[in-house]
Symmetry: C2
Subunit: 412 residues, 2 copies
């Protein structure tokens, strides 16, 4: 029988009523003839509670114990979901990560999936079981300890199962009904997309759209897993939600597909750095070693052999970045006058695979922001996206203006 | 290094403050030079919440899923305890049941322990780890599924580890400071015992004293594990609590060591049963098959070939007993006029290994109850205990009177 993977997030399984509702949804797919693999998150709030306890006990915790504690919420949901399905006469059982076993490396709290053997679950499908309920977010290390895949890791679990079992599709049920051209809470004209290319989804995810974990999109792209994002709170139909798929499966598309934003970016400026060959390596090497995710970089024009260097990184990494640069200065590797962190900024991005073949997108973006009086602090581009760092107070204005300018309220 | 097993119940680890307090207690034993195996329960209330959810979803639940769900609470405590110990610079790590692995049979929700390999944990002790924190109450079946040992099963986990690791002692920390001659909530003159024999503790546990799970005492007796029951809420000393040990290690003892009671017993009477050879087997066979735990049995004098048969069983099994007997009657295996259940009764028992060598204990018990005007409905005896079923309203009175009559307020 064809296999379907369905993933339900924390709000979709927040209590027993919602678990029953989700179970009915699963029953519909079983009735259509699918063998179903269900990936569940912890009931909403549970993981935060567990994480809170761990942080209260040990701010610098042993990640192996952290993983063992925080993975427990998913086990509860998996068992309750299997029981609910059985109660509806749907043959089901639960699997914890180590029972599959979903093998990962030993990078606790951010583990990478290495292997998902299919024999255990397929043997049960062959015996007549119709639904395998798998606890998301967790796996087991070569040392036999529980690992977790990072926050939002259940999305990645779902895609990995879809790839391993060659599923027809991987449906990600969440609390929004699909992927929008921008955040509907900011722009009421935001429009749900029927389809979006993997590459675009990947950019949108990493730029702040919180619909899917970035790694899950990477994985779906690599294994060509058809991903569908849809709401667990609406009556489902066959064309519900947004299909994330290969570019070739999208007939027409706008040049720009979506506008993303992030408030979690900070602008850091190193003032008066000695400008010499290798200075960029001397600055960004230590930052990389300290685990700082530098996004945008701008080097000012040099004057008298000195220059200002500006970069952006997640707000939560500002302290770490400051320490890494101070340490580098103490070791004599770099030399600067001052380091200024500005956290009152936001990043706004336009994303679209159409940019590859159409020029003038950047120019239109800059013109639109200029017309609104928004000053651009830093710019970065990739093949299919343009991002700008602006004052945070202009963020909503910029999102509105760009959404209109690129005609995103109208279907392609 | 000598091994000590310490077990902490749900109220002892109810929140992070209590977990810290318990961790300090563990640190004291580590400082004395012990390698410590700590068995933890779920934080109090957690297991009941999980059990409640399972029952709400599926009153006739799949015990394999039940076990998978309800075992999660212990995993959380184990991880939090390991983190707390690490924070105090005590080298520690947690183990879930399947990681040890604590192997059980496949009797889900009431599994029996089959094997506890010591190599994994001993290897870590050899590397310098000082505390192994083990999630209590759980194990893994031959099929690789999670099993649980029944309510109170963490006591049994603790004793099994003490046996497997040949521990010097197994300390059971709970919310009472030892084993009493009777329940101090009923008789203020109740006295804490310094020592009690395994056989006596076994009778007291199975007769309703809720200090230790009965199976844990059986196991301690079989492997001669020294068990100590003590409070986690008091400053510990070397002679704190009550030591449960072999009879030979107790110098002097009262003839009767303790008075136990249970309100959870019902009296069932089959009225006018045909009295023929094999009738007892015809009645108690079906009850046994239905899982009814029959305790006391009385057969009245036969008249005109018919008799009344009275027995007691746990109150919660009354419905099951009625159904088993009705089914047997429908199959024509037995024939009775009526079946009357009386749940307004209580069982009061006197226990003591001294009874073996001293006669007249039963007579003194009956005389004491007669003097108080308490009517005895059913009697049962074993080598070291006498139990009577009486009207529930006389229960406290009977406990008081017997406690006085056997001089239990005075040390032996």
């Amino acid at each position: 029988m064809p296999v379907l993977v369905m993933k339900f997030g924390g709000t979709s399984v927040a209590n027993l009523d919602r678990i029953r509702r989700v179970a009915k949804r699963i029953g519909v797919e079983v009735a259509k003839g699918y063998d179903v693999i269900v990936i569940v998150s912890a009931m909403s709030g549970r993981t935060n509670e567990l994480v809170g306890w761990v942080n209260e006990i040990a701010p610098l915790y042993d990640a192996r114990e952290y993983d063992s504690v925080v993975s427990s919420g998913e086990n509860v949901t998996a068992g309750l979901m299997a029981l609910t399905l059985q109660q509806m006469d749907v043959p089901a059982r639960s699997w914890q990560g180590w029972q599959v076993p979903l093998r990962t490396n030993s990078a606790h709290s951010a583990a990478r999936i290495e292997e998902i053997p299919t024999d255990n679950i397929n043997a049960k499908f062959a015996e007549g079981m119709r639904v395998a309920v798998v606890a998301g977010f967790q796996g087991v290390s070569p040392e036999g300890r529980i690992t977790t895949l990072g926050r939002g890791g259940s999305d990645t679990t779902a895609v990995a199962f879809a790839a391993a079992f060659e599923a027809e599709r991987c449906d990600i049920y969440t609390d929004v009904d699909g992927v929008y051209t921008t955040d509907p809470r900011i722009a009421s004209k935001a429009r749900k997309m029927d389809r979006i290319a993997f590459e675009e989804m990947l950019e949108l995810s990493s730029l702040g759209a919180k619909v899917l974990q970035t790694r899950s999109v990477e994985l779906a792209m690599r294994y060509n897993v058809k991903l569908r994002v849809l709401s667990s709170f609406e009556e489902p139909s066959d064309d519900a939600g947004t299909l994330v798929c290969a570019e070739e499966e999208i007939m027409e598309s706008n040049v720009v597909s979506g506008i993303a934003y992030s408030r979690d970016e900070a602008k850091m400026t190193l003032i008066s750095v000695a400008d010499r060959p290798g200075i960029a390596a001397a600055i960004f090497g230590p930052l990389s070693e300290a685990g700082v995710n530098v996004d945008m970089i701008v080097q000012n024009i040099s004057e008298d052999g000195r220059t200002d260097m500006t970069f952006s990184c997640p707000t939560e990494q500002v302290k770490r970045a400051e320490k890494a640069l101070q340490d580098a200065a103490e070791r004599g590797e770099i030399n600067y006058h001052d380091l200024v962190a500005d956290t009152d900024v936001a990043k706004v991005s336009a994303v679209g695979i159409g940019m590859r073949s159409q020029s003038g997108v950047a120019a239109q973006m800059f013109r639109t922001l200029r017309d609104e009086g928004v000053n651009i602090k830093v710019i970065s581009t990739s093949e299919i996206k343009i991002s700008v760092l602006i004052d945070r107070k202009y963020m909503e204005l910029a999102v509105h203006a760009l959404h209109d300018a690129f005609g995103l309220d109208k279907a392609a």
